[in-house]
Protein backbone atom coordinates (compact mmCIF):
# COMPACT_ATOMS: atom_id res chain seq x y z
CA UNK A 1 0.00 0.00 0.00
CA UNK A 2 1.52 3.27 -1.05
CA UNK A 3 -0.07 5.36 1.68
CA UNK A 4 2.62 6.21 4.21
CA UNK A 5 2.30 4.89 7.77
CA UNK A 6 1.27 7.70 10.16
CA UNK A 7 4.14 6.73 12.42
CA UNK A 8 6.74 4.00 12.49
CA UNK A 9 7.66 2.14 15.70
CA UNK A 10 11.36 2.26 14.93
CA UNK A 11 13.21 4.62 12.61
CA UNK A 12 16.11 2.59 11.33
CA UNK A 13 18.68 4.47 9.32
CA UNK A 14 22.27 5.51 8.86
CA UNK A 15 24.55 8.22 10.12
CA UNK A 16 27.18 9.17 7.54
CA UNK A 17 30.18 11.05 8.86
CA UNK A 18 31.52 13.36 6.16
CA UNK A 19 34.49 14.20 8.37
CA UNK A 20 35.72 10.63 8.30
CA UNK A 21 34.81 9.24 4.88
CA UNK A 22 37.96 8.81 2.81
CA UNK A 23 36.14 8.01 -0.44
CA UNK A 24 37.51 4.49 -0.80
CA UNK A 25 34.24 3.12 -2.29
CA UNK A 26 34.49 -0.05 -0.16
CA UNK A 27 30.87 0.47 0.97
CA UNK A 28 29.79 0.82 -2.66
CA UNK A 29 31.45 -2.44 -3.63
CA UNK A 30 30.24 -4.39 -0.61
CA UNK A 31 26.72 -3.05 -1.14
CA UNK A 32 26.75 -4.28 -4.73
CA UNK A 33 28.20 -7.63 -3.70
CA UNK A 34 25.67 -8.30 -0.92
CA UNK A 35 22.64 -7.06 -2.82
CA UNK A 36 23.51 -9.06 -5.89
CA UNK A 37 23.15 -12.24 -3.88
CA UNK A 38 20.52 -11.25 -1.33
CA UNK A 39 17.08 -9.63 -1.36
CA UNK A 40 15.29 -9.59 -4.72
CA UNK A 41 16.76 -9.93 -8.19
CA UNK A 42 20.55 -9.53 -8.65
CA UNK A 43 21.76 -5.96 -9.25
CA UNK A 44 22.15 -6.00 -12.99
CA UNK A 45 24.95 -4.64 -15.18
CA UNK A 46 25.13 -4.20 -18.91
CA UNK A 47 28.42 -4.29 -20.77
CA UNK A 48 30.17 -4.87 -17.46
CA UNK A 49 33.42 -5.64 -19.28
CA UNK A 50 32.69 -3.66 -22.44
CA UNK A 51 33.37 -0.16 -23.68
CA UNK A 52 30.40 1.44 -21.98
CA UNK A 53 29.70 -0.30 -18.67
CA UNK A 54 26.58 0.70 -16.77
CA UNK A 55 24.53 -0.87 -14.02
CA UNK A 56 22.33 -0.52 -10.96
CA UNK A 57 24.00 0.44 -7.69
CA UNK A 58 22.29 1.32 -4.42
CA UNK A 59 25.06 3.41 -2.92
CA UNK A 60 27.33 5.85 -4.70
CA UNK A 61 30.09 8.22 -3.60
CA UNK A 62 30.39 11.69 -5.05
CA UNK A 63 33.40 13.83 -4.28
CA UNK A 64 32.90 17.55 -3.80
CA UNK A 65 35.30 20.45 -3.60
CA UNK A 66 34.27 23.08 -1.06
CA UNK A 67 35.94 26.46 -1.34
CA UNK A 68 35.49 28.93 1.53
CA UNK A 69 35.87 32.62 0.66
CA UNK A 70 39.00 33.07 2.76
CA UNK A 71 40.69 29.69 2.82
CA UNK A 72 41.95 26.99 0.48
CA UNK A 73 39.52 24.43 -0.94
CA UNK A 74 38.81 21.20 0.91
CA UNK A 75 37.68 17.87 -0.46
CA UNK A 76 34.58 16.14 0.93
CA UNK A 77 33.74 12.56 -0.05
CA UNK A 78 30.00 12.17 -0.07
CA UNK A 79 28.34 8.73 0.14
CA UNK A 80 24.71 8.77 -0.99
CA UNK A 81 22.11 6.03 -0.64
CA UNK A 82 18.37 5.93 0.16
CA UNK A 83 17.58 8.12 3.18
CA UNK A 84 14.42 6.13 4.10
CA UNK A 85 12.43 9.38 4.38
CA UNK A 86 9.53 9.68 6.81
CA UNK A 87 7.61 11.55 4.13
CA UNK A 88 8.86 9.50 1.20
CA UNK A 89 7.51 10.96 -2.08
CA UNK A 90 8.71 7.85 -3.97
CA UNK A 91 6.19 5.73 -2.06
CA UNK A 92 3.03 7.78 -2.56
CA UNK A 93 3.50 8.20 -6.34
CA UNK A 94 3.78 4.43 -6.92
CA UNK A 95 0.70 3.30 -8.89
CA UNK A 96 0.96 -0.41 -8.05
CA UNK A 97 1.73 -0.63 -4.35
CA UNK A 98 5.18 -2.05 -5.10
CA UNK A 99 6.83 0.75 -3.13
CA UNK A 100 6.08 0.85 0.55
CA UNK A 101 7.37 2.10 3.89
CA UNK A 102 7.26 -0.42 6.71
CA UNK A 103 5.30 0.58 9.81
CA UNK A 104 7.48 -1.45 12.16
CA UNK A 105 10.93 -0.06 11.33
CA UNK A 106 10.45 2.65 8.69
CA UNK A 107 12.46 0.89 5.97
CA UNK A 108 11.37 1.87 2.43
CA UNK A 109 11.25 -1.18 0.16
CA UNK A 110 10.17 -2.26 -3.33
CA UNK A 111 8.22 -5.48 -3.89
CA UNK A 112 9.87 -6.37 -7.17
CA UNK A 113 7.15 -8.81 -8.23
CA UNK A 114 4.66 -5.91 -8.30
CA UNK A 115 6.89 -3.24 -9.87
CA UNK A 116 5.91 -2.29 -13.44
CA UNK A 117 9.14 -0.32 -13.99
CA UNK A 118 7.43 3.00 -14.76
CA UNK A 119 10.22 4.98 -13.09
CA UNK A 120 7.94 7.57 -11.49
CA UNK A 121 9.35 6.86 -8.00
CA UNK A 122 12.85 7.71 -9.25
CA UNK A 123 11.48 11.00 -10.61
CA UNK A 124 9.87 11.78 -7.26
CA UNK A 125 13.09 11.23 -5.27
CA UNK A 126 15.25 14.38 -5.04
CA UNK A 127 18.33 12.39 -4.02
CA UNK A 128 18.71 9.97 -6.93
CA UNK A 129 18.44 7.04 -4.54
CA UNK A 130 16.53 4.75 -6.90
CA UNK A 131 17.90 3.15 -10.03
CA UNK A 132 16.16 0.97 -12.62
CA UNK A 133 17.72 -2.43 -12.98
CA UNK A 134 18.84 -2.68 -16.61
CA UNK A 135 18.38 -6.46 -16.71
CA UNK A 136 15.29 -7.09 -14.58
CA UNK A 137 13.54 -3.78 -15.49
CA UNK A 138 12.35 -3.24 -11.94
CA UNK A 139 13.25 -0.42 -9.56
CA UNK A 140 16.14 -1.04 -7.21
CA UNK A 141 16.93 0.79 -4.00
CA UNK A 142 18.74 0.44 -0.69
CA UNK A 143 16.94 -2.07 1.56
CA UNK A 144 19.02 -1.11 4.60
CA UNK A 145 20.14 -4.73 4.18
CA UNK A 146 16.85 -5.96 5.57
CA UNK A 147 18.15 -9.47 4.86
CA UNK A 148 21.17 -8.96 7.15
CA UNK A 149 19.94 -6.88 10.08
CA UNK A 150 17.31 -9.44 11.21
CA UNK A 151 19.24 -12.49 10.01
CA UNK A 152 19.79 -14.97 12.87
CA UNK A 153 22.03 -17.10 10.65
CA UNK A 154 24.68 -14.40 10.70
CA UNK A 155 27.00 -13.74 13.65
CA UNK A 156 25.65 -10.76 15.63
CA UNK A 157 28.47 -8.49 14.51
CA UNK A 158 27.35 -8.93 10.88
CA UNK A 159 23.70 -8.00 11.53
CA UNK A 160 24.24 -4.52 10.22
CA UNK A 161 24.04 -3.11 6.66
CA UNK A 162 26.86 -4.25 4.37
CA UNK A 163 28.09 -0.67 3.85
CA UNK A 164 28.38 -0.08 7.60
CA UNK A 165 30.03 -3.44 8.25
CA UNK A 166 32.68 -2.89 5.61
CA UNK A 167 33.62 0.77 6.12
CA UNK A 168 37.30 0.69 7.11
CA UNK A 169 37.16 4.23 8.50
CA UNK A 170 33.95 3.84 10.56
CA UNK A 171 32.27 6.65 8.66
CA UNK A 172 28.90 4.87 8.52
CA UNK A 173 26.76 3.92 11.51
CA UNK A 174 23.46 2.05 11.73
CA UNK A 175 20.79 2.45 14.41
CA UNK A 176 17.31 3.48 15.52
CA UNK A 177 16.62 7.22 15.37
CA UNK A 178 13.34 6.76 17.30
CA UNK A 179 15.40 5.88 20.38
CA UNK A 180 16.98 9.09 21.75
CA UNK A 181 19.70 7.05 23.47
CA UNK A 182 20.81 5.07 20.41
CA UNK A 183 24.31 5.52 19.03
CA UNK A 184 22.97 7.28 15.94
CA UNK A 185 20.72 9.68 17.90
CA UNK A 186 23.59 10.62 20.22
CA UNK A 187 26.02 11.16 17.35
CA UNK A 188 23.51 13.29 15.47
CA UNK A 189 22.93 15.43 18.57
CA UNK A 190 26.57 15.86 19.48
CA UNK A 191 27.92 16.53 16.01
CA UNK A 192 25.07 18.58 14.54
CA UNK A 193 23.75 15.98 12.11
CA UNK A 194 21.71 17.42 9.26
CA UNK A 195 19.13 16.51 6.59
CA UNK A 196 19.90 16.64 2.87
CA UNK A 197 17.65 19.12 1.02
CA UNK A 198 15.27 19.68 3.97
CA UNK A 199 13.38 22.16 1.76
CA UNK A 200 12.04 19.24 -0.29
CA UNK A 201 9.92 18.28 2.73
CA UNK A 202 10.88 14.59 2.59
CA UNK A 203 11.96 14.36 6.27
CA UNK A 204 14.89 12.02 5.63
CA UNK A 205 15.76 9.56 8.41
CA UNK A 206 19.46 9.20 7.48
CA UNK A 207 21.62 11.95 8.92
CA UNK A 208 24.91 13.42 7.73
CA UNK A 209 27.59 14.70 10.10
CA UNK A 210 29.46 17.78 8.85
CA UNK A 211 33.23 17.90 8.37
CA UNK A 212 34.90 19.24 11.52
CA UNK A 213 36.19 22.82 11.09
CA UNK A 214 39.69 23.02 9.62
CA UNK A 215 42.39 24.94 11.44
CA UNK A 216 43.55 27.99 9.49
CA UNK A 217 47.31 28.58 8.97
CA UNK A 218 47.22 32.08 10.49
CA UNK A 219 45.50 30.85 13.64
CA UNK A 220 47.58 29.89 16.70
CA UNK A 221 47.68 26.16 17.02
CA UNK A 222 46.90 25.15 20.59
CA UNK A 223 48.68 21.81 20.62
CA UNK A 224 52.42 21.72 21.36
CA UNK A 225 54.62 21.39 18.30
CA UNK A 226 56.00 17.90 17.99
CA UNK A 227 59.56 19.10 17.36
CA UNK A 228 61.11 22.32 18.62
CA UNK A 229 64.37 23.01 16.79
CA UNK A 230 67.13 23.51 19.32
CA UNK A 231 70.08 25.68 18.36
CA UNK A 232 71.74 26.55 21.67
CA UNK A 233 74.46 23.97 21.92
CA UNK A 234 77.18 22.28 19.91
CA UNK A 235 78.48 23.45 16.59
CA UNK A 236 75.04 24.68 15.41
CA UNK A 237 74.66 26.66 18.64
CA UNK A 238 78.00 28.34 18.15
CA UNK A 239 77.18 29.06 14.48
CA UNK A 240 73.77 30.48 15.47
CA UNK A 241 75.32 32.82 18.05
CA UNK A 242 78.12 33.86 15.70
CA UNK A 243 75.67 34.74 12.93
CA UNK A 244 73.45 36.65 15.39
CA UNK A 245 76.46 38.79 16.37
CA UNK A 246 77.13 39.67 12.76
CA UNK A 247 73.80 41.54 12.90
Amino acid sequence: MTLLPAQTDKKLGLVIDLDICVGCHACVVNCKEWNTGGYGAPLGDIEAYGDNPSGAWLNRIHTFEVTPEDAPAQIVHFPKSCLHCDDAPCVTVCPTGASYKRGEDGIVLVDESMCIGCGLCAWACPYGAREMDPVENVMKKCTLCVDRIYNDNLPEIDRTPACVRTCPANARHFGDFADPNSNVSKMTRERGGFDLMPEMGTKPVNQYLPPRPKSRPEETIEIAPAFVPKADEGLLGWLDRALEKLG
Binding site: P68, K80, M114, I116, P126, E131
Partner: protein
Protein backbone atom coordinates in the same frame (compact mmCIF):
# COMPACT_ATOMS: atom_id res chain seq x y z
CA UNK B 1 14.43 14.88 -18.14
CA UNK B 2 14.70 12.19 -20.80
CA UNK B 3 12.04 12.77 -23.48
CA UNK B 4 10.63 9.25 -24.05
CA UNK B 5 8.88 9.09 -27.43
CA UNK B 6 6.18 6.73 -26.09
CA UNK B 7 5.22 9.20 -23.35
CA UNK B 8 5.27 12.21 -25.71
CA UNK B 9 3.02 10.31 -28.14
CA UNK B 10 0.79 9.26 -25.25
CA UNK B 11 0.20 12.71 -23.76
CA UNK B 12 -0.43 14.41 -27.13
CA UNK B 13 -2.58 11.67 -28.67
CA UNK B 14 -4.68 10.74 -25.68
CA UNK B 15 -5.01 14.47 -24.92
CA UNK B 16 -6.55 14.98 -28.37
CA UNK B 17 -8.70 11.85 -28.06
CA UNK B 18 -10.11 12.80 -24.66
CA UNK B 19 -10.59 16.36 -25.97
CA UNK B 20 -12.70 15.04 -28.84
CA UNK B 21 -14.61 12.79 -26.43
CA UNK B 22 -15.31 15.89 -24.32
CA UNK B 23 -16.76 17.66 -27.37
CA UNK B 24 -18.88 14.67 -28.39
CA UNK B 25 -20.07 14.25 -24.82
CA UNK B 26 -21.05 17.90 -24.59
CA UNK B 27 -23.26 17.36 -27.65
CA UNK B 28 -21.15 18.86 -30.45
CA UNK B 29 -23.34 18.54 -33.59
CA UNK B 30 -22.22 15.49 -35.55
CA UNK B 31 -23.39 13.79 -38.72
CA UNK B 32 -26.20 11.30 -38.24
CA UNK B 33 -26.36 7.63 -39.00
CA UNK B 34 -24.69 4.50 -37.72
CA UNK B 35 -21.49 4.84 -39.76
CA UNK B 36 -20.94 8.52 -38.95
CA UNK B 37 -21.54 7.90 -35.24
CA UNK B 38 -19.17 4.91 -35.33
CA UNK B 39 -16.39 6.80 -37.10
CA UNK B 40 -16.72 9.89 -34.87
CA UNK B 41 -16.50 7.79 -31.72
CA UNK B 42 -13.72 5.65 -33.21
CA UNK B 43 -11.56 8.73 -33.77
CA UNK B 44 -12.05 10.03 -30.20
CA UNK B 45 -11.84 6.70 -28.41
CA UNK B 46 -9.16 5.39 -30.78
CA UNK B 47 -6.79 8.30 -30.16
CA UNK B 48 -7.33 8.02 -26.40
CA UNK B 49 -6.72 4.25 -26.38
CA UNK B 50 -3.73 4.46 -28.77
CA UNK B 51 -2.15 7.00 -26.42
CA UNK B 52 -2.81 4.90 -23.32
CA UNK B 53 -1.40 1.77 -24.99
CA UNK B 54 1.69 3.66 -26.10
CA UNK B 55 2.28 4.77 -22.51
CA UNK B 56 2.69 1.13 -21.49
CA UNK B 57 5.58 0.73 -23.95
CA UNK B 58 7.95 2.65 -21.69
CA UNK B 59 7.20 0.33 -18.77
CA UNK B 60 9.77 -2.24 -17.72
CA UNK B 61 6.96 -4.79 -17.24
CA UNK B 62 3.94 -3.89 -19.43
CA UNK B 63 2.33 -7.25 -18.58
CA UNK B 64 1.86 -6.01 -15.01
CA UNK B 65 0.26 -2.71 -16.06
CA UNK B 66 -3.09 -3.76 -14.58
CA UNK B 67 -1.54 -3.46 -11.13
CA UNK B 68 -1.37 0.31 -11.67
CA UNK B 69 -5.12 0.56 -11.06
CA UNK B 70 -4.81 -0.26 -7.38
CA UNK B 71 -3.26 2.78 -5.66
CA UNK B 72 -5.72 5.53 -6.62
CA UNK B 73 -5.83 6.76 -3.02
CA UNK B 74 -2.31 8.19 -3.19
CA UNK B 75 -1.00 8.01 -6.78
CA UNK B 76 -1.96 10.31 -9.66
CA UNK B 77 -0.68 7.73 -12.15
CA UNK B 78 -3.05 5.17 -10.70
CA UNK B 79 -5.92 7.68 -10.66
CA UNK B 80 -5.29 8.46 -14.30
CA UNK B 81 -5.58 4.79 -15.24
CA UNK B 82 -8.77 4.26 -13.24
CA UNK B 83 -10.52 7.42 -14.50
CA UNK B 84 -9.45 6.74 -18.11
CA UNK B 85 -10.89 3.21 -18.08
CA UNK B 86 -14.16 4.24 -16.40
CA UNK B 87 -14.54 7.13 -18.89
CA UNK B 88 -13.84 4.88 -21.88
CA UNK B 89 -16.44 2.36 -20.65
CA UNK B 90 -19.09 5.08 -20.28
CA UNK B 91 -18.08 6.40 -23.70
CA UNK B 92 -18.48 2.92 -25.20
CA UNK B 93 -22.02 2.72 -23.82
CA UNK B 94 -22.78 6.24 -25.10
CA UNK B 95 -21.39 5.36 -28.56
CA UNK B 96 -23.31 2.07 -28.84
CA UNK B 97 -26.62 3.70 -27.88
CA UNK B 98 -25.91 6.52 -30.35
CA UNK B 99 -25.03 4.11 -33.17
CA UNK B 100 -28.02 1.82 -32.79
CA UNK B 101 -30.81 4.17 -31.62
CA UNK B 102 -29.56 7.44 -33.12
CA UNK B 103 -30.04 9.04 -29.73
CA UNK B 104 -27.24 10.83 -27.83
CA UNK B 105 -28.12 10.55 -24.15
CA UNK B 106 -27.09 13.87 -22.61
CA UNK B 107 -26.35 12.82 -18.99
CA UNK B 108 -24.12 9.98 -20.26
CA UNK B 109 -22.40 12.50 -22.53
CA UNK B 110 -21.76 14.86 -19.63
CA UNK B 111 -20.26 12.01 -17.66
CA UNK B 112 -17.96 11.29 -20.65
CA UNK B 113 -16.94 14.97 -20.84
CA UNK B 114 -16.28 15.21 -17.09
CA UNK B 115 -14.36 11.93 -17.08
CA UNK B 116 -12.27 12.96 -20.09
CA UNK B 117 -11.27 16.27 -18.51
CA UNK B 118 -10.50 14.52 -15.22
CA UNK B 119 -8.29 12.01 -17.05
CA UNK B 120 -6.29 14.78 -18.70
CA UNK B 121 -6.06 16.58 -15.35
CA UNK B 122 -4.76 13.39 -13.70
CA UNK B 123 -2.17 12.98 -16.49
CA UNK B 124 -0.94 16.52 -15.93
CA UNK B 125 -0.79 16.00 -12.15
CA UNK B 126 1.64 13.08 -12.61
CA UNK B 127 4.10 15.80 -13.62
CA UNK B 128 2.76 18.81 -11.71
CA UNK B 129 2.98 16.97 -8.36
CA UNK B 130 6.76 16.53 -8.61
CA UNK B 131 8.54 19.02 -6.38
CA UNK B 132 11.79 17.62 -7.75
CA UNK B 133 11.11 19.13 -11.21
CA UNK B 134 10.38 22.86 -10.71
CA UNK B 135 9.41 23.44 -14.37
CA UNK B 136 6.49 21.06 -13.94
CA UNK B 137 5.58 21.84 -10.31
CA UNK B 138 3.02 24.53 -11.10
CA UNK B 139 -0.74 25.01 -11.43
CA UNK B 140 -0.01 26.18 -14.98
CA UNK B 141 0.93 22.63 -15.99
CA UNK B 142 -2.63 21.19 -15.67
CA UNK B 143 -3.96 24.36 -17.35
CA UNK B 144 -1.69 23.79 -20.37
CA UNK B 145 -2.63 20.11 -20.64
CA UNK B 146 -6.37 20.85 -20.33
CA UNK B 147 -6.40 23.69 -22.84
CA UNK B 148 -4.30 21.81 -25.40
CA UNK B 149 -6.54 18.76 -24.99
CA UNK B 150 -9.80 20.73 -25.35
CA UNK B 151 -8.44 22.80 -28.25
CA UNK B 152 -7.19 19.81 -30.24
CA UNK B 153 -10.50 18.06 -29.48
CA UNK B 154 -12.45 21.09 -30.66
CA UNK B 155 -10.41 21.23 -33.85
CA UNK B 156 -11.03 17.53 -34.55
CA UNK B 157 -14.75 17.94 -33.75
CA UNK B 158 -14.94 20.94 -36.08
CA UNK B 159 -13.33 18.83 -38.79
CA UNK B 160 -15.59 15.75 -38.53
CA UNK B 161 -18.76 17.42 -37.19
CA UNK B 162 -21.39 19.52 -38.89
CA UNK B 163 -21.51 22.62 -36.71
CA UNK B 164 -21.18 25.77 -38.80
CA UNK B 165 -21.70 27.94 -35.73
CA UNK B 166 -20.96 27.46 -32.03
CA UNK B 167 -22.24 29.95 -29.43
CA UNK B 168 -23.27 32.22 -32.30
CA UNK B 169 -19.80 32.38 -33.88
CA UNK B 170 -18.48 30.45 -36.90
CA UNK B 171 -16.81 27.23 -35.72
CA UNK B 172 -13.35 28.10 -37.16
CA UNK B 173 -13.48 31.40 -35.26
CA UNK B 174 -14.16 29.60 -31.99
CA UNK B 175 -11.23 27.27 -32.73
CA UNK B 176 -8.95 30.28 -33.32
CA UNK B 177 -10.01 31.74 -29.95
CA UNK B 178 -9.28 28.41 -28.23
CA UNK B 179 -5.88 28.17 -29.95
CA UNK B 180 -5.08 31.70 -28.81
CA UNK B 181 -5.94 31.00 -25.18
CA UNK B 182 -4.01 27.70 -25.15
CA UNK B 183 -0.82 29.21 -26.57
CA UNK B 184 -0.98 32.28 -24.30
CA UNK B 185 -1.10 29.94 -21.30
CA UNK B 186 1.81 27.95 -22.72
CA UNK B 187 3.80 31.18 -23.25
CA UNK B 188 3.27 32.08 -19.60
CA UNK B 189 4.33 28.54 -18.65
CA UNK B 190 7.51 28.92 -20.74
CA UNK B 191 8.30 32.30 -19.24
CA UNK B 192 8.05 30.86 -15.74
CA UNK B 193 10.11 27.80 -16.74
CA UNK B 194 12.87 30.01 -18.15
CA UNK B 195 13.49 31.77 -14.85
CA UNK B 196 12.37 29.31 -12.16
CA UNK B 197 15.59 27.27 -11.82
CA UNK B 198 15.38 25.74 -8.34
CA UNK B 199 14.23 29.03 -6.80
CA UNK B 200 10.85 27.77 -5.58
CA UNK B 201 12.55 25.49 -3.04
CA UNK B 202 15.85 27.37 -2.85
CA UNK B 203 17.75 24.15 -3.57
CA UNK B 204 21.33 24.23 -4.84
CA UNK B 205 24.41 22.06 -4.55
CA UNK B 206 24.90 23.63 -1.10
CA UNK B 207 21.57 22.34 0.28
CA UNK B 208 21.85 19.06 -1.65
CA UNK B 209 25.12 18.25 0.13
CA UNK B 210 24.48 20.29 3.29
CA UNK B 211 27.96 21.79 2.81
CA UNK B 212 26.85 25.20 1.54
CA UNK B 213 27.65 26.91 4.85
CA UNK B 214 31.34 26.03 4.41
CA UNK B 215 31.81 27.69 1.04
CA UNK B 216 31.21 27.19 -2.65
CA UNK B 217 30.41 23.55 -3.40
CA UNK B 218 31.40 22.01 -6.70
CA UNK B 219 31.52 18.43 -7.96
CA UNK B 220 35.12 17.27 -8.19
CA UNK B 221 34.60 13.65 -9.15
CA UNK B 222 31.50 11.77 -10.27
CA UNK B 223 30.68 8.50 -8.49
CA UNK B 224 30.90 6.60 -11.78
CA UNK B 225 33.04 6.99 -14.86
CA UNK B 226 30.28 6.43 -17.44
CA UNK B 227 26.59 7.21 -17.65
CA UNK B 228 24.05 5.62 -15.32
CA UNK B 229 20.25 5.44 -15.05
CA UNK B 230 20.13 8.75 -13.16
CA UNK B 231 22.21 10.71 -15.64
CA UNK B 232 20.41 9.22 -18.65
CA UNK B 233 16.93 9.70 -17.20
CA UNK B 234 17.20 12.88 -15.15
CA UNK B 235 20.37 14.73 -16.03
CA UNK B 236 19.53 14.52 -19.73
CA UNK B 237 20.81 17.53 -21.67
CA UNK B 238 21.02 16.61 -25.35
CA UNK B 239 17.35 17.41 -25.95
CA UNK B 240 17.86 21.02 -24.87
CA UNK B 241 20.34 21.75 -27.63
CA UNK B 242 17.74 22.92 -30.14
CA UNK B 243 15.28 24.32 -27.61
CA UNK B 244 14.75 27.70 -29.27
CA UNK B 245 14.25 26.21 -32.74
CA UNK B 246 11.82 23.63 -31.35
CA UNK B 247 9.86 26.35 -29.58
CA UNK B 248 9.53 28.21 -32.86
CA UNK B 249 8.37 24.99 -34.56
CA UNK B 250 5.83 24.41 -31.78
CA UNK B 251 4.43 27.95 -32.09
CA UNK B 252 4.32 27.85 -35.91
CA UNK B 253 2.94 24.33 -36.45
CA UNK B 254 0.89 24.22 -33.25
CA UNK B 255 -0.54 27.73 -33.37
CA UNK B 256 0.11 29.93 -36.40
CA UNK B 257 -0.52 27.37 -39.19
CA UNK B 258 -3.80 26.15 -37.60
CA UNK B 259 -4.95 29.78 -37.19
CA UNK B 260 -4.25 30.49 -40.89
CA UNK B 261 -5.99 27.25 -41.93
CA UNK B 262 -9.02 28.06 -39.76
CA UNK B 263 -9.20 31.51 -41.34
CA UNK B 264 -9.17 30.00 -44.84
CA UNK B 265 -11.76 27.44 -43.68
CA UNK B 266 -14.15 30.33 -43.02
CA UNK B 267 -14.35 30.86 -46.77
CA UNK B 268 -13.69 27.55 -48.52
CA UNK B 269 -13.50 23.77 -48.03
CA UNK B 270 -13.73 23.79 -44.19
CA UNK B 271 -13.20 20.03 -43.74
CA UNK B 272 -10.01 20.01 -45.82
CA UNK B 273 -8.43 23.04 -44.20
CA UNK B 274 -9.47 22.06 -40.66
CA UNK B 275 -7.86 18.65 -41.31
CA UNK B 276 -4.58 20.36 -42.24
CA UNK B 277 -4.95 22.54 -39.12
CA UNK B 278 -5.46 19.45 -36.94
CA UNK B 279 -2.46 17.54 -38.31
CA UNK B 280 -0.27 20.63 -38.03
CA UNK B 281 -1.39 21.28 -34.46
CA UNK B 282 -0.64 17.72 -33.35
CA UNK B 283 2.87 17.91 -34.89
CA UNK B 284 3.37 21.25 -33.11
CA UNK B 285 2.27 19.65 -29.85
CA UNK B 286 4.83 16.86 -30.31
CA UNK B 287 7.54 19.55 -30.38
CA UNK B 288 5.98 21.28 -27.38
CA UNK B 289 5.80 18.01 -25.43
CA UNK B 290 9.39 17.07 -26.36
CA UNK B 291 10.54 20.33 -24.78
CA UNK B 292 8.28 19.77 -21.76
CA UNK B 293 10.54 16.83 -20.90
CA UNK B 294 13.87 17.83 -22.44
CA UNK B 295 14.02 21.27 -20.82
CA UNK B 296 12.92 20.14 -17.36
CA UNK B 297 15.71 19.98 -14.78
CA UNK B 298 15.57 17.46 -11.95
CA UNK B 299 16.87 18.10 -8.41
CA UNK B 300 19.26 15.15 -8.70
CA UNK B 301 21.22 17.16 -11.29
CA UNK B 302 22.42 19.25 -8.31
CA UNK B 303 24.60 16.28 -7.34
CA UNK B 304 26.20 16.15 -10.82
Amino acid sequence: MHPAISVIFFTVTSGAGFGLMTMIGLGFPMHEGLVAAFLSCLLGGGLAVAGLLSSTFHLGHPERAWRALSQWRSSWLSREGVIAIVTLLIFAAYALIWMFTGERIAPLGWAVAAGSLLTVYATSMIYAQLKTVPNWHSKLTPLCYLFFSVTSGLLLAGMIGKAAFILGLPTPTIIVVALGIAWVIKSVWWRRADTIGFSDTGSDTGTATGLGHLGKVKLLEKPHTGENYLTREMVHQIGRKHALKLRAIAYILGGIVPVIMCTIALFAAPVFFLAIAAVSMLIGLFAERWLFFAEAKHAVSLYY
